[in-house]
């Protein structure tokens, strides 16, 4: 056993020199995405941080074709590109819509739902940094309860819970739906590769922290991502055909307060509000657990590159299961 190590596909397609802020989670998401899919990939980017990150004309960081499109059209443009390539006999290239939470949860929601319902054959990655970050931190429907943004100031922070996009998409009964985190790159890459091999609409919701937007030190990006997963704030799971729920990682169940307290966007919250968040997280978790496939509450996606970490997690979960049953 020993140390958890990540064995990622070695090729680096993403170039340095991009315009991401230091410690950007969305950029790691892109890096892993490109590693997972290789060069036969086209990325569609609507208005989001990545409209800037990829670099100004005449530069590009992605190393694969990128089409910048309007805010609400990630899904529909991707769908058109896929159809265009198919119509010209290209059945190999993977088309990826790569959108932020605003472009996914809010303005791009209609096109996304349409593409999901039509089971269009492309992959949709939402790198969720829980607000409109590129425009300067305004609330989106992905912003969690209690968070400060420039449009939900500390005196009246966001009063609503985060939209449950996973359930909405599950209700579309798409063939593959997964959540992932930049803190678990091997899990993310395995899921992207699994998605690659599935035909139809595939959605991966990636928890991608934003140091300036959430107000934490950039060096803590991964730590915060990990805490979100381990505190059940953001469960790692897969849903097949919208109904078959599999948990990818059993969270340690650390208190949300550890996660909350690391971020300036929650600084104004009192103990009561944090308790309220904890209660909500617990309830959501219970609701999720009830949906898990009965025989297999835990399912680790097989990585193409055997991952030690994945095996550790799987072995641990199995031994835990063995102990309880």
């Amino acid at each position: 056993m020993g140390q958890i190590k990540f064995q990622l596909p070695p090729e680096e397609i993403l170039a340095p020199g991009h315009f991401a802020c230091p410690g950007c989670g969305g950029t790691l998401t892109m890096r892993y995405l490109l590693k997972a899919l290789g060069r036969k990939t086209v990325v569609v980017i609507p208005a989001c941080c990545w409209s800037v990150i990829d670099g100004p004309v005449p530069y590009s960081a992605a190393g694969v074709p990128v089409f910048h499109t309007a805010f609400e059209t990630a899904a529909s443009t991707a769908c058109g590109i896929k159809a265009g390539l198919e119509s010209q006999g290209d059945h190999e290239t993977t088309v990826v819509a790569f959108a932020g939470d605003g472009g996914t949860f809010d303005i791009g929601f209609q096109a996304l739902s349409g593409a999901a319902e039509r089971n269009e054959d492309f992959m949709y990655i939402c790198y969720d940094n829980e607000a409109y970050m590129n425009t300067g931190i305004q609330r989106s429907s992905a912003t969690p309860f209690g968070a400060w943004t420039t449009t939900t100031p500390a005196e009246s922070p966001k009063a609503e819970n985060k939209k449950n996009m996973v359930e909405i998409l599950a209700a579309h009964r798409i063939p593959y739906l997964a959540t992932a985190s930049v803190a678990y790159p091997d899990d993310m890459i395995a899921k992207i590769q699994k998605a690659h091999d599935i035909h139809g609409f595939r959605f991966i919701h990636v928890f991608s922290p934003c140091p300036p937007g959430w107000k934490f030190e950039p060096e803590d990006s991964i730590k915060i991502s990990r805490m979100a997963i381990e505190s059940k704030v953001f469960p790692l799971l897969e849903i097949f055909n919208g109904v078959d729920y599999r948990l990818s990682r059993e969270p340690a169940g650390t208190p949300v307060t550890d996660y909350i307290k690391m971020q300036g966007r929650f600084r104004h919250l009192g103990e009561k509000q944090i308790e309220q968040i904890q209660t909500y997280v617990d309830e959501e978790w219970e609701r999720l657990v009830r949906k898990l496939a009965p025989e297999q509450h835990l399912h680790q996606p097989e990585s193409r590159v055997a991952s030690k970490a994945a095996k550790v997690i799987l072995a641990k979960s199995q031994s835990r299961k063995g102990a309880t049953s």
């Binding site: 056993m1 020993g2 140390q3 958890i4 190590k5 990540f6 990622l8 680096e12 993403l14 170039a15 340095p16 020199g17 991009h18 315009f19 991401a20 802020c21 230091p22 410690g23 950007c24 989670g25 950029t27 790691l28 890096r31 990829d54 670099g55 100004p56 004309v57 005449p58 530069y59 590009s60 960081a61 190393g63 990128v66 930049v182 790159p185 140091p211 030190e217 950039p218 060096e219 803590d220 990006s221 991964i222 730590k223 990990r226 550790v312 641990k316």
Partner: protein
């Protein structure tokens, strides 16, 4: 910031598409802190008196480079088979894994490495070319052997004068076979001799060899150890049936069987007391240890106490001997007094305080007094400065008499352990080297020691410490077979995998994995290279490093950085 290359309208593409990679944009200029790879010191390494480079030899072990691992230990300690068995392993007490789950079984690994090389015919490396100076060492215990070995490695001719017939000192005559088989000791002493160390047995200074003979040497290291048991200072302790721990163990280790009764009382709480009690058990006797404090204050190694318990040794805590009584000069009873714990003393342990009127008597046919040892320095001709019963030495092990150095249990500031003696020998060798003018005094750089909170424990799933294999108690208590076994290769590798390897980069790629700026890569030799043209200094690599082998340092002025990038 780079100047973007724009062309005229005639040369521009029909729509805005990219022409080149962002690699041309030196986003490293955004950085105000700079990540660097910097190995730090592991706490185990600091905790090891001999200064063994534990993370380094662990990594060699994990790569199954057992011989290189062995050589790595030998740089600091020529007796890994010995210390792997009998060391009280303070390294493990410092282990950063201890507060996380259980410390790593470092000394079992050390033993594994030593035992992997038992049949090794290659000599330990001699690091430097021969020198003309000769150094005499008095005593072939761990301090003497260590010093002679280190001097030999430095190219000196080292001669050990040993009073006994066989070399090893306390290692041979103080530690029973079931803990340290003689063949292990013999092998490691033979290895030491193979480096050119000369051992002269039956050569007691002040006895068969005159002190004056030492004058032909360029330096002397006194390492005679503490081979004499301290007196209990109670009436009747000279009676027949009262032994000292040192004498009792010496006889056993010399192949004799001392005449002891069925009911053996051992006074003391150190390793000698435990050894004596467990030896008595092996001779088929009932053994009880009497200790004036409680179990937690016992200086003996905890595992040894547990082993003794398993083998049926009884413990009586908070009692102290008052007098020994008997008839015809032979012991029959011991009078004891109850104690209670008072304020902590200089050692930090709570001091035993007598409970008035609590005296009571216990029947005994054998009493072994093992309350501590002291050196016999009667052979020294000069009026060397002493402190208490020991020879006073400075931090560099010099005695005040030019060219005469001393260390181990004979000198001041010992803690009566093998590994401290090894350290004394090693450090004294350095001092002698300096004294002889081959080396200038160096001020050691301060250690930056990795703290438990510096370790990113996410990367280390909880795993329990290896269970050291041992022979069954029924077998162990009836003979002098070695009780603890060497770890199997699989066990050793698994246990080594538990090691955080604090402060030493293992090229685990975590830094590379999490770099959002794709600014870390590996060169042909497998070393990491940070692309400072593009690293924005987010610090994720440093924060995520599982073992604190990186750090962030402040960036120079912007001008400096830009200048550096132009080069």
């Amino acid at each position: 910031m780079a100047k973007y290359k724009y062309t005229t309208v005639e040369e521009m593409p029909p729509l805005a598409f990219s022409l080149e990679s962002t690699r041309k944009i030196p986003t490293g200029s955004w950085r105000h802190v700079r990540p660097v790879y910097k190995n730090k010191t592991s706490p185990c390494e600091v905790g090891c008196p001999a200064g063994e480079k534990i993370p380094e030899y662990f990594e060699l072990l994990r790569q199954k480079r057992y011989e290189e691992a062995w050589y790595k230990i030998l740089e600091d300690n020529p007796l890994p088979g010995v210390t792997g068995r009998v060391c009280y392993h303070p390294c493990e007490g410092q282990c950063n894994r201890k507060p996380y789950d259980e410390g790593v079984a470092i000394h079992n690994i050390e033993r594994f490495v030593a035992d992997q090389n038992l049949r090794n015919k290659k000599l330990p490396r001699v690091s430097e070319s021969p020198k003309s100076e000769k150094v005499a060492i008095i005593g072939s215990g761990p301090a003497g052997l260590s010093c002679a070995y280190q001097l030999a490695r430095k190219g000196y001719h080292a001669v050990i004068y040993e009073a006994d017939h066989e070399p090893g000192g306390m290692l041979r005559y103080g530690i029973p076979d079931y803990r340290l088989p003689k063949k292990i000791l013999d092998k490691e002493i033979a290895d030491i001799e193979s480096t050119g160390v000369e051992i002269r047995p039956d050569s007691r200074i002040g006895g068969s060899v005159a002190w004056s003979e030492l004058e032909k040497y360029d330096a002397v290291f006194v390492a005679v150890g503490a081979m004499r048991s301290r007196k209990m200072d109670v009436p009747g302790e000279d009676m027949k049936g009262v032994f000292t721990g040192v004498d009792f163990l010496w006889e056993i280790n010399n192949g004799d069987v001392p005449k002891i009764g069925r009911n053996v009382l051992v006074v003391g709480g150190g390793n000698t007391a435990i050894d004596a009690a467990r030896t008595a058990v092996r001779l088929g006797k009932k053994a009880t240890i009497l200790y004036r404090r409680t179990r937690t204050e016992m200086p003996a190694v905890p595992e040894e106490i547990e082993e003794a318990e398993k083998e049926g040794v009884r413990f009586e805590f908070l009692v102290a001997p008052v007098k020994v009584t008997g008839s015809k000069g032979k012991v029959s009873r011991i009078e004891l007094m109850r104690m209670k714990l008072g304020e902590p003393d200089a050692s930090g342990r709570r001091k035993p305080v007598p409970v008035k009127g609590s005296n009571f008597q216990v029947a005994a046919d054998t009493i072994i007094s093992a309350i501590g040892e002291e050196p016999d320095l009667s052979f020294l001709p000069y009026s060397f400065l002493k402190k208490g019963v020991r020879l006073f030495v400075d931090d560099d092990y010099s005695t005040g008499v030019p060219g005469i150095f001393a260390g181990g249990d004979a000198a001041t500031n010992p803690n009566g352990t093998v590994v401290n003696a090894i350290r004394a020998g090693k450090e004294a060798a350095t001092s002698i080297d300096e004294f002889l003018g081959w080396r200038t005094k160096s001020n050691g750089t301060p250690h930056e020691v990795v703290r438990p909170e510096d370790v990113n424990t996410f990367y280390f799933p909880h795993e329990s410490r290896v269970k050291v294999p041992r022979i069954p108690v029924a077998k162990s208590k009836t003979g002098f077979h070695e009780v603890n076994k060497t770890l199997s290769e699989a066990q050793a590798l698994d246990e080594a995998d538990r090691c955080f390897t604090c402060g030493t980069c293992l090229h685990c790629d975590v830094c590379m994995t999490f770099c959002p700026d794709v600014a870390i890569s590996k060169d042909e030799s497998g070393e990491y290279v940070i692309d400072y043209d593009h690293c924005k200094g987010c610090g994720i690599c440093v924060n995520e490093c599982p073992r604190e082998a990186m750090e962030l340092v402040p960036e120079g002025s912007r001008e400096e950085v830009e200048e550096a990038q132009q080069v």
